[in-house]
Symmetry: C2
């Protein structure tokens, strides 16, 4: 991504992102402001924007230089946060979310972004894009602030499916590795399997089975398996990819978010406690801002759906313009890397792996 416009490059590598304008807590204005931010920074990006045209047209027109980068697709209905995924699957064809996924399905867009209902977005994505051959359960991967040099770890699944068996956990390890390689500069990611302790005898039977499956695939998958990791390793530096089922992953990230939010509130209270502490806050402001920036969830906004024929990025429901722009940037980056194709190749290469194949020479797939 570059800040300077190079006309030859614009036509050659223009990437189109399909964006669901509706369903976020902050409404379509925040979404349009977000894509305007991305358009300003990135000359190689174009948009298909989905929602009620009479609402979207004036919002887009207000943003300088956005009109000729955005195509509006009229969609009359909106998926709400309360809608059940099963209902949306049956009756949601006229929604902006469905329309946004449809653009990826038809090949008009290289990826889609939505701030809406996660369950509904996954359900629509599953029936329209279909799972990659060899994938039983798709997963949602997020970036989590960590003590690793890259500043983040990849964690999956954080809520696509409440269950995962050993084979699913192996798929998550492979997809997470591929995602890490394509979104960060890490050639050989370290994969950890989330458990209640690091000793091999701990945890459920399916975790022990997943342990040996992932271990067997590490060489061929070109990753390091660091074995079982604990909750404290999610923000830690022992692994780059944390593999778990969607129930545990979802509870873990929400606990982490809640804890961070509690500390934020307590910190604010501590600095407004007395006149003296308010004064201290003024001096401390640059330091507090540095902290805030480092753990700002908006900077890493975007859960990526892995295991489908196409790239879908789920932005946080409460995302503002900065958050939407971060999700768009992620979708752009993955499209530019040809991530969907690489992931398909990665999963296909591992699917037929049997005991007899474990001695084969590793094939180079990212």
């Amino acid at each position: 991504m570059t800040d300077q416009i190079d006309p030859s490059k614009v036509t050659a590598s223009r990437i189109t992102i399909s964006v669901d304008a509706m369903g976020g807590d902050a409404g379509p204005a925040a979404v349009v402001a977000g894509i305007a931010l991305s358009a300003e920074k990135n000359p190689d990006i174009g948009f298909i924007l989905h929602g009620p045209v009479e609402q979207l047209k004036p919002l887009v027109a207000k943003m300088r230089g956005l009109t000729d980068r955005v195509e509006i697709r009229d969609a009359r209905e909106v998926v709400s946060m309360e809608d059940k995924p099963s209902q949306v699957m049956r009756h949601g064809k006229k929604t902006s979310m469905w329309s946004a996924v449809e653009s990826v399905k038809k090949g008009e867009a290289d990826g889609a972004v939505s701030c809406g209902n996660t369950g509904a977005l996954m359900a629509i994505s599953m029936i329209r894009l279909r799972k990659l051959p060899g994938v039983n359960r798709p997963a949602i991967a997020i970036l989590w602030p960590s003590r690793n040099p890259q500043g983040f770890n990849v964690m999956l699944d954080v809520g696509a499916d409440v269950r995962a068996d050993a084979q699913d956990l192996l798929q998550y390890a492979l997809m997470g590795t591929s995602y890490t390689r394509n979104s960060m500069d890490i050639a050989r990611p370290r994969v950890g399997l989330l458990n209640v302790g690091t000793e091999e005898h701990k945890g459920h039977a399916e975790l022990k089975e997943a342990y040996s499956l992932i271990s067997d695939h590490a060489e061929r998958g070109n990753f390091d398996f660091v074995g079982f990791v604990e909750g404290s390793d999610i923000p830690g530096d022992t692994a780059d990819v944390i593999v778990t089922d969607g129930f545990t992953g979802n509870v873990a990230i929400k606990t982490g978010e809640g804890t961070a939010s509690l500390i934020r509130i307590t910190l604010r209270e501590a600095f407004t406690y007395s006149i003296l502490s308010r004064l201290a806050a003024i001096f401390a402001l640059p330091s507090l801002n540095r902290l805030s920036k480092k753990i700002d969830p908006r900077r890493v906004n975007g859960g990526v759906f892995l295991g489908l024929n196409g790239t879908i990025v789920k932005s946080h429901g409460g995302a503002d313009a900065t958050g939407v722009s971060a999700a768009v940037k992620l979708a752009f980056l993955l499209a530019q890397q040809g991530f969907a194709e690489k992931l398909a190749a990665r999963v296909a290469s591992s699917a037929p792996l049997t005991q007899s194949e474990l001695d084969c020479v590793p094939t180079e797939v990212t």
Copy 2:
């Protein structure tokens, strides 16, 4: 607890806590320093201290006024953090941990505290103290910093057992409620069942079953059931008691601890970034100390084993004197309240509950 010694009270209500001096990361010196702190603050407490007598005797002698409050029980072996619970159950009879639990079993002590291996402590406690009638799986409950007025929530199970079915989750709700009533000033605790969303259709089948079981018992159990809660509610203010299985609970608290620790490190970096920020840190110190005190894990040190015939408090392995003293205080408080007996009555009262009994007048058991 009072800071002034009232001799008449000392003899009348002396409570004896059995303490495993070994197995903590900081060694027996930290444990002895911890009980000395407790003894200084609390005239009603006495100790039975378990470990190698030649190590413990000089440590106790060094502390003023401690010798006549402590009885040392010589135990030659130590359970290490690496020992498997199954091995300790078979070959651990000579360890300080076993000896500490044995004192509760024999009625010599009103509760026990250990900083050692959690799995081994639970295993020894289960075989020596036995489960309460009606309890299938005992649980470990902890206090977690929260936005509630009391400053903490009770969460269980955080790792006694990696599995829990609907009936176990009901028991956790009842035991957690009883613990909350006896450790905090909350007459009618609010209970939440941890899930990936608050909507009733979400989560595993056993969670839905547990939902209706707990709901059915709320009136008789004298608690409010707030339904499903999410990870973000663990440090939140929607519930006082968070019920979950030991796998999810363990991952959640470790994720929360890891996140808090990451923020602590980042905060320190932010305040040592430049000369100016170091200067700001001096001004900000009182505020930062207020934050630090509020989220200090040592203040709420102590996981309580619920569902056994006797009170066992598991202190953090890395506890220093302050941490050990907090765990001792918790064991003392629960013994003083007659918690073990109240819990037994609570579980017994709920055990035979059938559909036909749901219309009965609630019995008052805390």
